[in-house]
């Protein structure tokens, strides 16, 4: 009798009541927790991958600064003429934003690390350097090379940073793929919860019928299922996120040499992003269960 009184008192909180009237669904419950944990774990990696590729693309993009160099090697007498000719060609080349010959002081500064400050640059036959900054659309390097070889025999075009361009594009693509993966994982989580909720709803069809008969509203019945699946997903995603973060933390740090591989981690405020994964997973589960429940309930009297 005491026990009954306590039980009924427990029922006064509508939530515990609704959760009791639907029998526990052990197996589906564990599957839901496990799957959402796995999904959250994958999301953390996709997120780390996206952010790391993003950082890489940005830093490479800054470094490139769209700069290349023309080196002119000519007998001392022709140096000035060839430099002028090269500058003229560059002026006429579409896609070149600016070009200028480096001053002897600048050239000396570049050589200093190798030969010391006392190098008599003027007296040595070192090549003249022209710095070329391309515009956003970029120039046609083959065309430029051809014109230079025809008009400035001593000129060599050195596109020292151009080779990185495809890498930068690849990094950008990788970032995009990371975000697409996250969206897909989210959709898969929704689909998984929908399947689990549908199976729970089907298994409890008789319970739902009885609840409708005694005057339960759709909201009350749906709530029992929605609460369950939302909490399970939240729990699973929480665990998965934690494990994922731990795994990212344990990645070897950035030693400078590893580049991309050792850059797979979160930086600064990006550490906060993974914290959004469990609540977002819960929102997905909430919507999926809500829709599944409404669909099943709509088919009952």
């Amino acid at each position: 009798m005491r026990a009954l009184l306590d039980k009924l008192r427990g029922l006064t909180s509508p939530d515990s009541g609704a959760d009791r009237v639907v029998p526990p669904t052990g197996f589906t419950a564990r599957l839901t927790v496990f799957t959402s944990a796995a999904m959250a774990f994958l999301t953390i990696f996709a997120l780390a991958l996206s952010l790391a590729s993003g950082r890489l693309a940005t830093s490479w993009g800054d470094e490139l600064a769209r700069e290349s160099t023309i080196r002119i090697s000519a007998p001392a007498g022709q140096m000035a003429a060839q430099t002028a000719a090269a500058l003229r060609v560059l002026e006429q080349t579409p896609g070149v934003a600016s070009a200028r010959a480096l001053t002897p002081e600048e050239q000396q500064a570049l050589l200093e690390p190798w030969f010391g400050p006392d190098l008599p640059v003027q007296t040595l036959p070192i090549p003249q350097l022209i710095s070329v900054i391309e515009s956003d659309e970029g120039y046609d390097s083959e065309g430029l090379r051809l014109r230079l070889s025809a008009e400035v025999p001593g000129a060599v075009l050195d596109e020292h940073t151009r080779w990185r361009r495809p890498l930068m594009v690849a990094a950008g693509r990788l970032r995009l793929l990371g975000w697409v993966s996250i969206l897909l994982i989210g959709a898969a989580t929704g689909a998984m919860v929908t399947l689990a909720a549908n199976s729970a709803l089907a298994a409890n069809r008789q319970v739902i019928t009885v609840l409708r008969l005694v005057g339960a509203t759709d909201g009350y019945i749906a709530g029992a299922f929605v609460r369950r699946f939302t909490l399970r997903t939240l729990l699973g995603a929480g665990v998965g996120t934690l494990v994922g973060l731990l795994a990212v933390l344990l990645m070897p740090g950035d030693s400078g040499a590893g580049g991309f591989l050792t850059g797979l981690r979160f930086e600064g405020w990006h550490w906060l992003l993974p914290l959004l994964v469990p609540p977002l997973a819960a929102v997905v589960a909430y919507l999926a269960t809500q829709m599944a429940a409404r669909r099943v309930l709509g088919g009952l009297a």
């Binding site: 009184l5 009924l8 029998p23 409708r212 005057g215 009297a301």
Partner: protein, 225 residues
Amino acid sequence: MIELENVAYSYGSDALLTDMSLQLAPGAFHFLTGPSGAGKTTFLKLCYGALRPTEGRIRLFDQDLAQMGRDDVAFARRRIGVVHQDCQFLDHLPLAENIALPLTVSGQASPEQVDNLNELMSWVGLTDKYDALPPELSGGERQRAALARALILSPDVILADEPTGNVDWEMSQRLLRLLVELNKMGKTVMIATHDLMLIRAAKSLVSARNLRIANRTLQAAGVDL
């Protein structure tokens, strides 16, 4: 309370019930009789909105069933206590919680209701079965529990489908007196039954009308059987 206007119903292509009209007034006491398979259970289901008529109109508490949303139907059902022929319990919950289920789902479960529950349980003679699970009960015990659950929200209308089908004569008299008592308090009662003895016994207690479903229609029949 419940009004049917030229209602027809068919499960498939053949009409089971046709052109049925009825006004269940407050305080009325009706028996519903007819051969097995005539459609008594179907008729009651129409009365509490579990089935929508294929033709005609049903009004529950002055609302047109066709216009009622799903929540409206749920709220209307809280005012109609139904004893289902097949009882309809949740097998994983102890009996007391099953009987209190209408309170639970309508958010009215409270310690004060426990007195109500105790009284009902003793009325139907189930005080020693609080913690039993429904599958552990006998057919008669289940029926008595179903009646208790139908009454727990103190509904305006009581629809009972064969409430005495599995109980002995003495218990059926006891349940009948309970329903008559409730009717005297102003509740509308309709009992679907095959039990002519029960109808005869009721005659001395209450002025009841007998409705008979035969040949797909509803006919008024005498209680002098």
